[in-house]
């Protein structure tokens, strides 16, 4: 995260990390989650889902802070995030699930 000045308690503050789960086939491609993600975690995928829309895909999984904005803005109940366990080392990328329902 970019700070204008380094906060004094930056070592004490633990930034939460999130795991984004996308139900790809529920997506109608409105792009709200992509545009309004504060950390730009998501991007429009080039592939199509079963409905013929481009779903979002996670491109910067490590930047997710589990704000859950993608979850609450999604009109399709197609994306949600959960908190990753804080003890997982930052160097290990968070896994992100893409689920296909038939």
């Amino acid at each position: 995260m970019d700070f204008w000045r380094v906060p004094l308690d930056i070592d004490a503050i633990q930034v939460p990390r999130g795991i984004v789960t996308i139900f790809e086939d529920r997506c109608k491609g409105c792009g709200y989650c992509i545009t309004f993600c504060p950390r730009h975690v998501l991007n429009l995928a080039s592939r199509f889902n079963v409905k013929g829309y481009h779903p979002p895909e996670v491109i910067r999984a490590d930047d997710c802070v589990n704000c859950r904005f993608c979850e609450i803005i999604c009109p399709e109940f197609a994306i949600y995030s959960t908190e990753a366990s804080p003890d997982s080392p930052a160097s290990v990328p968070c896994s992100c699930d893409t689920i296909k329902e038939t």
């Binding site: 109608k28 803005i73 109940f77």
Partner: protein, 280 residues
């Protein structure tokens, strides 16, 4: 992993999947439509308010947002056009233990159902009304509605709407609502908090949620859904307690959001009990 991440077999479940009838999904709302977001805010509010879900009833009328009653897993009723509030009034008076939430659109609540709205507000019936305002009649093809801003292009006003729209919070305030708020579908956390607050508060509560209608209103007014949301972000002012007189929706000025009215007054049921069933 968080508690709500339930595993049904080997399948992952969205946190709101238990509130939604998955067999009816995908819903009919167009890509970019805000009704789904307002609906999910409503479900989140109901879920987090801690109210027993068996005691919550959702009533909706006709229109795109009227479909919400059929999509929720709560007890719900999809009523005739404009009559969501009379049904909700009946449900509430027959069983005052229930929390009744009316989820409907601007056309249903304020055009054909306008009279029911003002009289329910006047009587202070203890229901919560969530109005998804998409500024036109979306389901029938984008005709000018009672809430279409002056000058907007619609199917029936191809050169611009000559009418002035309703100022919904002012109407609710003037008719006697106990709680009046307005948010957009982008201000989801505020909207969710507002619905939650309104549900636990006794009295008639009205919450207007502005929402894009990309296929009808947006297309004719050269607004992509993302443009509408950017407008909601950049050209709205949050002003809690603002005078309802200044809340008209006009494309030439900023839209004012916030909680405008929050007062305590006896509900219809309380007054009825006091007069007709006085304690011995």
């Amino acid at each position: 992993m968080a508690d709500h991440l339930k595993k049904a077999g080997n399948k992952q479940v969205h946190p709101l999947d238990d509130m939604v009838r998955r067999d009816r999904m995908p819903h009919i709302w167009c890509p970019g439509c805000g009704i789904g977001t307002v609906f999910s805010a409503c479900l989140t509010a109901i879920k987090s308010s801690g109210i027993d879900l068996d005691k919550v009833v959702m009533v909706s009328g006709i229109g795109c947002s009227g479909r919400a009653a059929g999509y929720t897993n709560l007890d719900s009723f999809h009523t005739t056009h404009g009559r969501a509030i009379p049904f909700a009034t009946g449900v509430k008076l027959a069983n005052p233990e229930l929390k009744v939430i009316v989820f409907s659109g601007d056309g249903d609540l304020f055009a054909i159902g306008g009279n029911h709205f003002i009289h329910a507000a006047r009587r202070n019936i203890d229901i919560t009304v969530v109005c998804v305002n998409n500024l036109n009649y979306g389901m029938t093809g984008g005709q000018a509605a009672a809430t279409t801003p002056e000058g907007s292009l619609t199917t029936t006003t191809p050169l611009g709407n000559p009418e002035r729209p309703f100022n919904l919070p002012l109407l609710a305030y003037a008719a006697g609502a106990a709680y009046v708020a307005r948010w957009t579908m982008l201000h989801i956390q505020d909207l969710t908090e507002s619905i939650k607050e309104a549900m636990v508060k006794p009295g008639f509560a009205f919450i207007e949620a502005l929402s894009p209608c990309p296929v009808n209103y947006g297309r004719r007014n050269k607004e992509k859904p993302l443009d509408t949301l950017t407008m909601y972000r950049d050209k709205t002012i949050i002003k809690n307690g603002a005078s309802p007189l200044e809340l008209d929706v006009d494309s030439r000025k900023s839209i004012i959001l916030g909680k405008f009215v929050d007062i305590q007054k006896p509900t219809f049921f309380e007054l009825y009990e006091k007069i007709y069933r006085p304690a011995e």
